[in-house]
Subunit: 369 residues, 2 copies
Amino acid sequence: MPDARRFTELQGPVPMYRGGELPSVTIAYETWGELRGRGDNALLLFTGLSPSAHAASSAADPSPGWWEYMIGPGKPIDTERFFVISLNSLGSCFGSTGPASIDPSTGQLYRIDFPKLSVEDIAAAARGACHALGIDHVHTVAGASLGGMDALAYAVMYPGTYRDIVSISAAAQATPFAIALRSIQREAVRADPAWAGGHYAPGQGPKDGMRVARQLGILTYRSAPEWLQRFDRERIEGSDASPDPFAMAFQVQSYMDANARKFADRFDANCYLYLSQAMDLFDLAEHGAGSLESAIRKVDARRALVAGVTTDWLFPLWQQRQVAELLEHAGAAVSYHELDSIQGHDAFLVDSDRFAPMMAAFLAGMPEA
Amino acid sequence: MPDARRFTELQGPVPMYRGGELPSVTIAYETWGELRGRGDNALLLFTGLSPSAHAASSAADPSPGWWEYMIGPGKPIDTERFFVISLNSLGSCFGSTGPASIDPSTGQLYRIDFPKLSVEDIAAAARGACHALGIDHVHTVAGASLGGMDALAYAVMYPGTYRDIVSISAAAQATPFAIALRSIQREAVRADPAWAGGHYAPGQGPKDGMRVARQLGILTYRSAPEWLQRFDRERIEGSDASPDPFAMAFQVQSYMDANARKFADRFDANCYLYLSQAMDLFDLAEHGAGSLESAIRKVDARRALVAGVTTDWLFPLWQQRQVAELLEHAGAAVSYHELDSIQGHDAFLVDSDRFAPMMAAFLAGMPEA
């Protein structure tokens, strides 16, 4: 299989935001475009919970990436101008150090002995990776969903190392609703006996629990109007004849099930639990003695793009407005967008009609070197 | 334990809406007030998915019922005027025949050999129970959530046997979003090995799966703004010191967990699966050759109360408007209310400030005998 990933090692021990440390850290990343100077044209891209670093295709890996429409020559994040760095998050399972990695101090998998993971640790690992790549100061820090939380944490933690911020469908802190939802997803995984307290064999594990968790994820990443438009009450042919009295009967079930099975096969359950919990714990106010306003004052962005989606009920618009207002409070020139998309939280992945022009316009503000 | 339930036996075999039959059916019910005539002052009340027939306290069972604020002497459903009949749904587990009952033809529990359950079967069993009680024609058929679906089905199936309808936070058909959500809940139950294909010991069963399913229920029965107002990001003291890396950290988790455990202990898993699926399958259009408009023409209600809640995302307002418009189409004088409550789908259970006056005003239209 083609693989465009490269790897960088951060010098350990790497302290973790909520205590503990990692003896060493590997970060998997991909890049597109040519680096200028010490990072003047660098765009540091954080991912959501589930993707790898493969945000776009390249010669080394021509398979489509998770933001294929957004990144490439002549695309909104134009790789003829930008040097794009996409990272696999610390704690994930696509090449970066996480619960599914081997703890060099024991020779065993970390599993649930991995220290508590925070959004701040993902941001810090990214900072370390940039440093290792010779990048002192990036043009833009960007991300959506968890990636947007990462970008906001990065901005608060490392003022002076970036110029602009892009925060899409993110939040300054997790709401109790989102916490409750992710907590249910984690319960589904942990209630599966195959989880075995985290001690399943590599590649095995709680597939049923992960399937339930991911179905709930899929449901919350989109919107009820979209399900209605796409599937309405369309039935699965022949389901009435099934001997299983609870056989799937509707196309919407079949869609969710197929997607969830793919995820359960490719994502490590312990990594999922750690990343999910990191989102719950995220609260930018921790950087301002309990005050979001105090925390945000540390940010020294010149410009910020903040965007959300009308039908996003996981990271609702009021949270996007809050992020925009906070960044204005910090002195950034904020370009704020409420996009009227039917595709909910995940609209940024699929609704190129709305997201591409917005991103292109924002980044067009970039002066030529 | 005090018990105000009475039981009525329907003469079998009882045919089921989607095929199969039950050799006999028992329906558990409670009543309040005095019956006049053949039902002139009767209010037939259907319940949501989870309650028993115990809708209100009485001398025989002074414990508070699930609609305690609504039903009683001088209350909105005034038992000095109305004879209220509340039924435990067919398929449930609080005295009525369901998957947790013994199949008289085998002497074994039905479990998953219970025939497919539909909202129509619940309505038909209620009609049978009324008949057995000597009630030909009720004053009002009422219900909320699943109970509202039951009431709508009853109205379409038995014109000429009721005068008015009350449909609260219900729907004329299940949306794909609600189907997806309930499907995930059922998957959580069925993925629990303790479900054992439905063959768990009575009183035992998939407690973990039921707990996950119910947590998701609780989450969807309320609204994100309510969680924010009630819990915000309030922490559980000492959770950081837990040896469990995924210990509950937020009060919202603790609340959901405690409630879900209670439910898992008291509700039979197979009954839950059947009732949940019945809601997915509900589509009033089946009574009109695929057309809601055709189906609703069978309704001959004089008046209808239709109400929904602004923050209900499980049975959203557009579905309430749809029910109201359909009933107007059927010639009923519709009193339609969009209640601005923060408590979401379950507001009818708790928001007496908004629901009590509305119900009282609607029922005040009742002429004295």
